[in-house]
């Protein structure tokens, strides 16, 4: 393991000040499931590891019907998966969280860490994208909010400055009549990364689709929205033909590579299959939601 000095600020402002002081020579530690691997492998060799684990009041999941959901930087993936608030109002996020690694890893890993790691295959990222999540960042010159749709810039790269921290993720209130679903396609069912991940969200008014979001994981340098596929769905009922047409457009939006987990043509084909399946399932969920009292 790479050797480093350890910092453990107690407040967010202290953390920001320390990060400003040590800059590129420091790495932020949250749950550590990515960073410890990088330190053990020697991919990262910082002089300082700055743990935010003891920063007060970053571990929360809060909901209200006007502002939506706020997830603090220290909320674990397991807490998100099992949160009654998330399961009730944003079930697709709980579903996606439950596909990440194992219970043991999910008890350590934070949702914010999955976002900051910015892996193209990060399992919670397509779900966060279809839910229009935003990141609240704090840095030496104050704070800003960045929609996740503009947050990722490449594998492992985000718009965050090295002196910024992700303080919380904010999700707008869900609109009534929506259904959403995430499908993780991996070679093994357990402890494997996604070959392709697809999330779809559909909002229905009666039979008509009034809003749609489709996000793809592991098929481009970042998780991406399939905007043309979304537009294709809006303004008409979600039929198998409509889902098929949208899946064509999602497949065209994918720019996958060939690696150990799958070839580019295989991934493109799976984007098609999974997008169609995901849209139809989201529509089913939206319909059953509409029928609730």
């Amino acid at each position: 393991m790479h050797r480093f000095d350890y910092l453990e600020p107690a407040t967010l402002s202290e953390a920001v000040a320390l990060l400003a002081q040590h800059g590129a020579r420091a790495r932020v530690l949250a749950g550590g499931t990515d960073l410890l691997t990088a330190l053990k492998e020697g991919w990262e060799r910082p002089d300082w590891v700055l743990s935010i684990g003891r920063v007060a009041d970053l571990r929360y999941i809060r909901y209200d019907s006007r502002d939506g959901l706020r997830i603090g930087a220290l909320a674990t993936v397991r807490e998100v998966e099992t949160s009654p608030l998330v399961r009730k109002h944003y079930p697709v996020l709980a579903e996606a969280a439950g596909t990440l690694a194992s219970v043991q890893i999910r008890n350590l890993a934070t949702l914010a860490g999955n976002v900051c790691r910015a892996s193209p295959s990060g399992d919670t990222l397509p779900a966060l994208l279809v839910l229009d999540a935003e990141a609240r960042l704090v840095g030496p010159s104050g704070e800003r909010r960045v929609p996740l749709a503009r947050f990722f810039v490449g594998p492992g790269r985000t718009v965050m400055e090295p002196t910024e921290l992700l303080a919380e993720l904010v999700l707008p209130p869900p609109r009534p009549g929506t259904g959403a679903h995430y499908i993780k396609h991996s070679l093994r069912r357990a402890m494997d990364l996604a070959v392709v991940g697809v999330a779809a969200l559909v909002a229905l008014d009666g039979e008509t689709c009034v809003d749609a979001r489709i996000a793809l994981g592991a098929v481009a340098p970042t998780p991406i929205r399939a905007l043309a596929a979304e537009e294709q769905l809006v303004g008409r009922p979600i039929t198998p033909d409509a889902a098929e047409a949208a899946a064509d457009l999602a497949q065209a939006a994918a720019r996958p590579i060939t690696d150990v987990r799958g070839t580019a043509p295989y991934r493109r084909r799976m984007v098609h299959v999974l997008t169609r399946r995901c849209i139809l399932r989201a529509a089913e969920l939206a319909q059953s939601q509409g029928r609730l009292p």
Partner: protein, 157 residues
């Protein structure tokens, strides 16, 4: 530079001086002589190092000892008094769920954590809870049977 951390391990408060880059697993095994938790992969993949941290199962190879400062750790050594077995341990013996035994402490800790939260799990819930525990010997069937049987006999700690 080493710094002191206080861990409550199997109910006993212990102070240990640790380097910042030492994992909880290494401190348990090398500094405290608690070799129940095993080092299979050292990368979070195999679950052999599973312990309960503040009651929750975690891979102790993916936790720095400094992160565990002030917290509660339960290892397989702490499940039952010397000479006794926890119901989950008993079931592993009775159902032949142990072969080489390397995965066993991690399996048992993951199973105990499940039964603490969900005393009467379905088989699917048992399999989901053990997703992060690899076994190269048994083929898992007997492990799952053992956990189901322990649940029937009230296996929660």
């Amino acid at each position: 530079m080493k710094r002191p951390v206080t861990l409550t391990i199997n109910g006993e408060r212990q102070e240990v001086a640790v380097e910042p880059w030492w994992t909880l697993l290494d401190v348990l095994r090398e500094e405290l002589g608690l070799t129940g938790a095993k080092k299979g992969c050292d990368r979070g993949d195999c679950g052999a190092c599973t312990v309960l941290l503040d009651g929750k199962p975690v891979t102790s190879c993916m936790v720095l000892a400094v992160q565990a400062d002030g917290r509660q750790v339960v290892t397989v050594e702490g499940l039952a008094a010397p000479g006794h077995l926890h119901p989950v341990q008993r079931a592993f013996v009775d159902y032949g769920a142990v072969q080489c035994g390397f995965c066993t402490p991690g399996m048992i800790m993951a199973a105990v954590a499940l039964l603490n939260e969900t005393p009467h799990p379905t088989e699917a819930e048992v399999r989901a809870a053990l997703t992060g525990n690899l076994c190269r010997c048994t083929g898992y069937a007997k492990i799952v049977q053992a956990v189901m049987a322990a649940a029937q006999h009230g296996g929660a700690a």
